[in-house]
């Protein structure tokens, strides 16, 4: 099943390279000019560079391409250094409190040395703590130099009342943002995965008191974040992460057996369905069962599936750098509304969207 109808030629090129890195060996200048730009825009340039380096192909590539791949890698390395240091400082600040802290997403990938971390451009640090300790964590961090980033009282209320995380924090001496979560989806969201289950199953890693999610939970969190907590816009990188996680964890025989029951237990079957459907269709992720069959009764209805199939690929990919299409703008807007619809009920959604629109016009 190929879902790449909405993709531009540049996106298709990127997809081909992600699926099969050796494709670049056939490239002329024209293809390189497209690939380097879309891959950079999609934040996967360094990931591709890593794969090519691992397959020892860099010597066969044109110098200009290698220079750009190496440049992207240098930026990735710097961000990873900054991330590790931030995690180190957070650990130092919070270790004495003995509060269970789980590193989420990039931070976890980095400390657990997962293949997905290679070439991945790191942004914020995400940590999950039990809700009861949220205030203590915030106070402890404030005392040691972390400050809130969003001062607008509306944003503060928005985060504290409705969201699954505190307003972002940043240490006054550094630039990395830290998000403290108490669950993985906003409290007003339609899906309510129980964070205690995640905390109970968390795994330890050597050398730090911070924990990471169990493999199945990591995958489910990534899937939920992409399909239920984001507008999918330009989020191809997250799909690539999912593909990498699935391939890596598949090596354990029990992974697939545990994944489905866990998704049921956490009420996250729908995001998992989308995750498996799109990683398989777009990136060719090997899934050892028929997704359609496995999810039989819990799949979204045919019209919804059809709609998502049409919208998701176009939204995920960056689009052609020289020929932007207005249709993609429409697609992204629809998914933007969807993401908010999933996060909060109508009576909260409407005023929130109106307020956001007004702010944008004011700018």
């Amino acid at each position: 099943m190929r879902l790449n109808g909405a993709l531009s030629s540049a996106d298709q090129l990127l997809l081909d390279v992600l699926r099969e890195p050796t494709t670049v060996l056939t490239f002329q200048a024209r293809e390189w000019n497209l690939l380097l730009r879309v891959a950079r825009r999609a934040r996967v340039l360094a990931t591709i560079g890593e794969q090519l380096e691992q397959q020892v192909l860099l010597e066969q590539l044109p110098l200009k391409a290698v220079e750009q791949l190496m440049g992207a890698q240098a930026l990735v390395n710097q961000r990873q250094r900054m991330a590790r240091w931030e995690i180190n400082r957070l650990h130092r600040a919070l270790a004495d409190t003995r509060i269970p802290c789980i590193l989420l997403k990039g931070g976890a990938y980095l400390l657990a040395n997962l293949p997905v971390a290679r070439g991945r451009l790191f942004a914020d640090v995400d940590i999950l703590v039990p809700k009861a300790y949220l205030e203590t964590v915030e106070t402890t961090l404030n005392q040691q130099g972390w400050e809130g980033v969003k001062f607008d009282p509306y944003n503060q209320r928005y985060y504290r009342r409705w969201m699954h995380e505190l307003p972002p924090l940043r240490h006054r001496d550094r630039q990395v943002e830290t998000d403290i979560h108490h669950t993985i989806l906003p409290i007003t969201s339609r899906l309510r995965p129980d964070p205690n289950l995640l905390l109970e199953a968390a795994q330890t890693i050597e050398g730090t008191a911070f924990k990471i999610l169990a493999p199945v939970d990591m995958v489910l969190h990534s899937a939920t974040h992409l399909f239920y907590d984001s507008d999918l816009s330009d989020q191809l990188r997250d799909l690539v992460d999912l593909d990498s996680l699935l391939r890596h964890f598949s090596r354990a025989a029990s992974f697939w057996e545990e994944l489905m029951p866990r998704a049921t237990q956490l009420e996250l079957r729908r995001p998992l369905f989308y995750a498996l459907r799109y990683t398989q269709a777009l990136l060719g992720t090997p899934v050892p069962f028929n997704v359609a069959d496995e999810f039989k009764s819990q799949r979204p209805m045919a019209p919804v599936r059809f709609l998502m199939d049409g919208l998701v690929p176009g939204a995920l990919f960056p689009g052609h750098p020289d020929y932007p299409r207005w249709l993609i703008g429409v697609i992204r807007w629809l998914l933007y509304v969807r993401s908010h619809y999933l996060r909060m009920p109508m009576y909260l959604l409407m005023p929130h969207l109106v307020r956001k629109a007004v702010k944008r016009i004011q700018k």
Binding site: A29, R37, R41, K64, E67, Q68, G71, A74, G319, P321
Partner: protein, 306 residues
């Protein structure tokens, strides 16, 4: 093929349609923009620069477009696009050339991490490479502009590109932006110099661009070894003194002045220390360009003899 070998209509064809693949130092820039005055200025300032006839891999794809907004007719603007993104606010349309130059600098500084990029002027004579790190009040652009009209080769007035594998200095001889009084100073200093149109009311005052000497452009593939680091400081009417500078301070200032020192991490540290160790370090305070050049010429001569 060079830009100068194209007639203006042909140049416009390239700029308006497929894009002009311009070679500036080690960077290939694909330029696209439907702006007639810009085409003329590019022809003037970039005349000696090579261009590619077909498609080649470009380091940056730059497009200057007029945004379609309410200001299309009243005080029109121009927007800088690179790889489909617009990193800056729009500029007044008249300032398209300064926008292009600053935009290109931004692209290089944010991407070219296969070099250690110093914020410095670099000139060369008889195999001696001098790095002139930039600090406010240094007057490095003016000093570079003067030096290159007194026998020194221009590597760059802005970017000291240090190649990571062998620490060689890689030339990037682009048009030199002169500001305010410097424009007249250089006109008087080097009447043969070609200076582009004046752009008043930019963020930095009035700006004009000096066309790089043909010989410097023709030798842009020739790297240089860094032998000397000189920290210039201009003081109107002050004495001209060239004296040795502490290597410890030189390292700090050099690292601080680099665009991407932090990005390179340990590699950046090692490159900077190696450079400072192997180079002679000086501080040059000067009140007159001629006097500064005398000092640097003498330094070059003494090191050449050694």
């Amino acid at each position: 093929m060079k830009v100068a070998s194209l007639e203006l209509p042909e140049l416009k064809e390239y700029l308006y349609r497929t894009g002009l693949y311009l070679q500036t130092g080690p960077f290939t820039v694909r330029l696209h923009g439907q702006l007639a005055p810009l085409a003329k200025t590019i022809q003037l300032l970039y005349g000696d620069f090579p261009i590619a006839e077909g498609e080649v891999i470009a380091d940056f794809h730059i497009s200057l477009k007029r945004p379609i907004n309410l200001r299309y007719w009243w005080r029109p603007q121009v927007l800088f696009h690179v790889d489909g993104r617009t990193p800056f606010e729009p500029f007044p349309l008249k300032l398209a050339m300064p926008l292009l130059e600053w935009g290109m600098n931004w692209c290089i500084a944010t991407r070219a991490h296969h070099y250690l990029m110093l914020h410095a002027g670099v000139v060369e004579r008889n195999g001696l490479g001098i790095v002139l790190p930039a600090y406010p009040g240094a007057g490095k652009s003016t000093l570079c502009a003067a030096l290159i009209h007194r026998g020194w080769r221009l590597l760059s007035d802005e970017f000291g590109l240090v190649r990571i594998q062998d620490s060689k200095l890689v030339p990037l001889p682009r048009p030199i932006p002169l500001k305010n009084q410097s424009i007249e100073v250089i006109r008087a200093f080097a009447p043969e110099a070609i200076i582009g149109p004046l752009f008043p009311k930019t963020r930095k005052g009035t700006v004009a661009h000096l066309r790089p000497p043909t010989l410097s452009v023709e030798r842009m593939a020739e790297t240089a070894l860094s032998s000397v680091i000189v920290f210039p400081q201009y003081k109107a009417g002050g004495p001209t003194v060239l004296e040795p500078y502490s290597k410890a301070y030189a390292f700090l200032k050099l690292a601080n002045s680099a665009f991407n020192y932090e990005v390179l991490g340990v590699k950046g540290f090692k490159l900077a220390t190696e450079m400072v160790r192997s180079c002679q370090c000086y501080a040059l305070s000067y009140g007159e360009l001629d006097e500064a050049i005398v000092e640097l010429d003498a330094l070059a001569a003494s090191l050449h003899a050694a």
